[in-house]
């Protein structure tokens, strides 16, 4: 589904990704772990199409060149990024925003757009999945939301949009254990044979709830080690220091 080859990304002359190679097949969940500043968030933003980076290398998504697509074209083709820091948008209602997004995706799929009433019914049903309060709907997008509420809103959007490839960028940060369980349940409900997920996290904790098929360590802009879920446990014990050194010495 996703085939990343020798991916580089620079911003203002600073290299953040230095040759990432990664293959994700349908049905798989990949965790990407690594120390702060290793390029995890950069990778997620480059995949979603943020244009502040100077990018080289190739990324194929379902066999097609992903890097040439606009962010909205990526989104309607099934890519979803759950932001580490969801953006507040004052004056734009959550429900209206979501319906606009949902209908953009429907339109791209050649499906009929939903009107306000039908969409509200859908939203109400999906809200239960992430145990979200109905009052969220009438508020402006993320405005005045607590950190946990914002993360929950990300997963709620994901539940509505049903992406083929979900990228979760530190979705666990700022969540207490109860919220983490709810969010993880929402994510797990989306797992399917024809969908894949890229779960970016600093800590192993999230992976107790969203169990990955593969774990990769990203350090200094490169994937330096890959393994199964046991790698995450090892990292929890041993930390990332060893990779920082390896990456720095170029090994």
């Amino acid at each position: 589904m996703l085939d990343i080859k020798n991916l580089h990304a620079k911003v203002e002359g600073l290299s953040l990704l230095k040759g990432v190679n990664l293959q994700v097949n349908a049905g798989e969940v990949h965790a990407i772990m690594g120390p702060n500043g290793s390029g995890k968030s950069t990778l997620s933003k480059v995949l979603a199409g943020r244009d502040e980076y100077e990018v080289s290398g190739t990324v194929l998504y379902n066999g097609k060149d992903l890097l040439s697509l606009s962010p909205e074209a990526r989104a309607v083709s099934g890519i979803f990024l759950a932001f580490q820091y969801p953006v507040e948008i004052p004056g734009v209602g959550n429900l209206y925003f979501l319906r606009t997004a949902y209908n953009a995706v429907r339109k791209a799929r050649g499906e009929e757009e939903l009107d306000a009433i039908d969409f509200l019914a859908l939203a109400k049903e999906k809200m239960k999945c992430v145990e979200m309060d109905a009052s969220f709907m009438s508020r402006s997008v993320n405005e005045g939301f607590s950190g946990g509420e914002k993360k929950r809103n990300e997963v709620f959007q994901m539940t509505i949009l049903e992406p083929t490839l979900s990228i979760l960028d530190e979705t666990d940060s700022g969540l207490d254990i109860d919220a983490l369980k709810i969010v993880a349940a929402g994510v797990n409900a989306l797992r399917r044979k024809d969908r894949a997920m890229l779960v970016i996290t600093h800590y192993q904790r999230l992976l107790d709830y969203i169990v990955p098929d593969y774990v990769h360590v990203l350090a200094n802009g490169k994937i330096v080690q890959s393994g199964d879920k046991s790698l995450a446990h090892r990292l929890e014990k041993e930390g990332y220091a060893q990779f920082d050194q390896e990456a720095a010495t170029g090994s």
């Binding site: 309607v76 979803f80 949009l161």
Partner: protein
């Protein structure tokens, strides 16, 4: 240039003598003389610093004659300006059109009359009611008052609204100024005079729009006097033709414990100016001034505001937002002066601007002069552009670039629309603003 501009109007100055009582003629001639003596404002006048008057002063404007036959139907008026319920009074090129306006009987306690008609009756009691509106000198007698003085001197028609004490008018009163000009550029100076008695309540909507896109100049003055504890909400829609000019002065005098709120939406005119002066000279009065301006290519929309706190325990709030399109210009010049004895004043002023293009421009100048020491005053001004992060967030959800920009811009202005409690008006304003944002 100045003399050519004024020459045409000096005829009108004397012609009008036949229609008006002596006390008014004395005031009118004084006002006209002051323009002749002091001339028009220049960039040296802070209030007019960024306004280029040459396009106006070099145009050979003519006075607008009263139209005897007009072709407008009430339906056409509704389509042009919306219908917000309540009674409505329609002016074409500054002249009152009774056929298009609501007729008496009006609700109890409400007197509405065209100024031309009221002044022709030579009713002595009018002098005390109207004279102040022909003398007001908002920015303290500076030469910047030239257009205000011209309005005093050359007003041919307008509307007098008198609300008796203790009277609540449930439905809004709409005053609609339509321009219907052909090849000859017209200039008219209408006045709206509102006198709200003690504890009265009303909402007044003032709309300016044009039938054809032609060159004309509306030089309007709106004068509000509120008795003690009166509550007046005022909505102004400046949707003039894009070739037109619109200068207006809103002048507010408030009694003790009275509340005045003003909501401006400015979309039209090549040069549009909406100046406000609010006098808080009686204790516990509150004024709230809101404005939204959306200048697009070739437009300059300016907003000088002067709030004077001379009594204790008064509140003033200003919230103005601008969205400036490519080649558009906006201006905000807000001044709050708190006099020495105006203790416990609560004054705030916020101006936020969103520039949509590199060629968009805005000048924002908040100013506070506080001479009292026990006061709460806050001011802030921002100029920004659409956030890349917010744009990426929306696009990452599948929303296209243009739609995402429009959504973020609408989010910026929706706060202002939400401040308008009259639902039919708010809906019309939302449609107008959305239509504008699509084009920006």
């Amino acid at each position: 240039m100045i003399s050519t501009f004024l020459q045409v109007f000096s005829h009108l100055e004397y012609k009008l003598d036949n229609h008006y009582p002596d006390w008014l003629n004395a005031l009118r001639h004084r006002a006209f003389s002051s323009v002749l003596e002091q001339g028009f404002p220049t960039s040296k006048n802070e209030d007019w610093k960024y306004t280029r008057l040459s396009p106006i002063l070099s145009t050979g404007f003519q006075p607008a004659l009263a139209t005897t036959d007009h072709y407008l139907s009430l339906d056409a008026v509704d389509r042009l300006a919306g219908n917000f319920g309540g009674i409505r009074f329609v002016f074409v090129n500054g002249h009152f059109i009774p056929e298009l306006s609501s007729r008496a009987p009006f609700p109890d306690g409400l007197r509405v009359e065209s100024l031309a008609s009221a002044l022709s009756k030579n009713d002595k009691s009018l002098e005390s009611l109207l004279a102040p509106a022909f003398q007001s000198s908002p920015q303290g007698g500076e030469p910047s008052d030239a257009f205000l003085s011209l309005n005093h001197a050359l007003m041919e028609d307008g509307l007098l609204i008198h609300i008796s004490e203790q009277t609540t008018i449930d439905e809004p009163i709409t005053v609609l100024f339509l321009s219907d000009c052909g090849a000859t550029p017209l200039l008219y100076h209408p006045k709206l005079i509102v006198n709200a008695g003690k504890k009265s309540r009303a909402a007044i909507i003032e709309i300016h729009t044009s039938i054809l896109d032609s060159l004309y100049f509306t030089n309007v003055v709106s004068n509000f006097t509120l008795g003690d504890s009166a509550e007046i909400a005022y909505y102004k829609v400046q949707n003039e033709g894009r070739l037109g000019f619109h200068f207006s002065q809103l002048d507010v005098h408030q009694g003790q414990g009275s509340q005045f709120s003003s909501h401006l939406t400015a979309l039209g005119a090549a040069i549009g100016r909406h100046a406000v002066r609010a006098d808080l000279s009686q204790e516990h009065a509150a004024v709230s001034l809101n404005g939204l301006y959306l200048p697009d290519a070739g437009q300059y929309l300016d907003h000088p505001i002067f709030v004077s706190h001379t009594a204790a325990h008064c509140t003033s709030k200003q919230l103005y937002k601008g969205v400036v399109g490519a080649e558009g210009r906006g201006g905000f010049y807000g001044k709050i002066v708190v006099a020495k004895n105006a203790m416990k004043t609560d004054a705030s002023q916020t101006n936020k601007n969103l520039l949509l293009s590199e060629s968009s421009q805005v000048e924002t100048r908040p100013r506070l002069e506080i001479l009292a020491d026990d006061v709460k005053c806050a001011h802030g001004a921002t100029v920004g552009q659409i956030s890349d992060e917010a744009l990426f967030y929306l696009r990452s959800r599948g929303i296209g670039l243009d739609k995402a920009k429009a959504l973020l811009t609408y989010g910026f202005v929706s706060e202002m629309l939400n401040l308008v409690p009259l639902v039919p008006l708010r809906n019309t304003l939302s449609e107008m603003v959305l239509a504008r944002l699509k084009g920006l």
